[in-house]
Assembly symmetry: D2
Homo-oligomer: 135 residues x 4
Amino acid sequence: MTLEEAQELVSRGPFLNWLGLEVLELGADTIAVKAKWRPEWVANPVLGQTHGGILASLIDFAADFSLLNSIGHPVPTIDMRVDYHRLTKQCDLVAEGRVIKLGRQFSICEARIFDENRLLVASGRGAYITAPKAG
Amino acid sequence: MTLEEAQELVSRGPFLNWLGLEVLELGADTIAVKAKWRPEWVANPVLGQTHGGILASLIDFAADFSLLNSIGHPVPTIDMRVDYHRLTKQCDLVAEGRVIKLGRQFSICEARIFDENRLLVASGRGAYITAPKAG
Amino acid sequence: MTLEEAQELVSRGPFLNWLGLEVLELGADTIAVKAKWRPEWVANPVLGQTHGGILASLIDFAADFSLLNSIGHPVPTIDMRVDYHRLTKQCDLVAEGRVIKLGRQFSICEARIFDENRLLVASGRGAYITAPKAG
Amino acid sequence: MTLEEAQELVSRGPFLNWLGLEVLELGADTIAVKAKWRPEWVANPVLGQTHGGILASLIDFAADFSLLNSIGHPVPTIDMRVDYHRLTKQCDLVAEGRVIKLGRQFSICEARIFDENRLLVASGRGAYITAPKAG
């Protein structure tokens, strides 16, 4: 799959679009994307930090889409874990996903999120259904 | 804390506002909120399902805010697990949070999300910092 | 499945045997078992607390075996989360499992562990493969 | 901390002893250990596979002890996630732990388990209390 095809899959989705995602790199079992900050991401207006739900969304997205070149399309998430490492404020983010174990029924992938200074903001992993669709 | 005070804490946050959250109930160690569906929640436009990142955001929110009457304010999330049970499409959601174990340093809380037919859509749990702020 | 049949499934397993498991109750989607303390469970000999790996083993076991009456046999674990709530020392433990969502491909179950004073020691949840075996 | 000091910390613990742990390497924020197979590890006697609770124990241990050179001693686990990648049968295992994010209050570490053919058997991560003890 080319970068353009991956970007097309991303851009057709209203929520992914809202996250302002730009696919930077697509490897055999990796992906890197940039997410464009928007004011609605702010959790506490006094601190100005990006809400953990945004970070969780990026973890899920990047882990899932690291399977693109193995499976050919996004797949359903079974479950996900997210660890929060530091606050991030009003800046674009880079999310990097990687397949840990590709399986016939389900696969495990991980993702990391970096801020504009390349500091690790959050990381996590998820289980994804990679069984062929019944039918 | 009254329902109105809890709603105020919710409404001041740009992301929580964007999620259209209305606090329905606030107990000693529970919370119930309604989240108003919006078109930007859609993951795949063909399926029309709400993106898992939205569900993860609601799990994190409801688990965290179930601590309101114990701690008095929202607290930082250490980590979170989300399990996805079924797709949900274009409908408002109810998220219910509950404290599992209140601790002096950190606490564990869980949350469940229901669709308009009261079907369980997702559930999960998180660890939250409940130590007094250093200072 | 009767309590005796469940106990037989438990007792044939060397590790489950080593955990000293006695099935107390088996419901439609629940299970309760007692685990008999043994000196090898101790983590730090100064504190005398039971190692988290033992608690994780009990969580995985009880969550998995809560599916017995739905599936008819133990199933493979996809992944698991364990939360540790308090130390427990030199005492038997009770583990209770419950199905959260039974699915055709995979299912989510949770479990809680109590000490002899019925204090919650640990809790968690896991994803289990409940698809029929291929072939 | 020297390899010998780390091995001493491991060998004094009854459960870690039972797991037959030998410290192979200790880095600034990493650890590698070998665990010696024993018949009590077997889950299902027909399949002969090592029980997931043993793998979870090794994940928790290796993640925790990767903090040895940062903290100086083992620390309490807040929570843990384990992903199971493939069955492993009647063989010694190698567990490798690594600090993902060292924090003042808590830290996140990950671990991987390999079989004798260096195949990835399980992996996971946990949150650990690294705040100085009160008092």
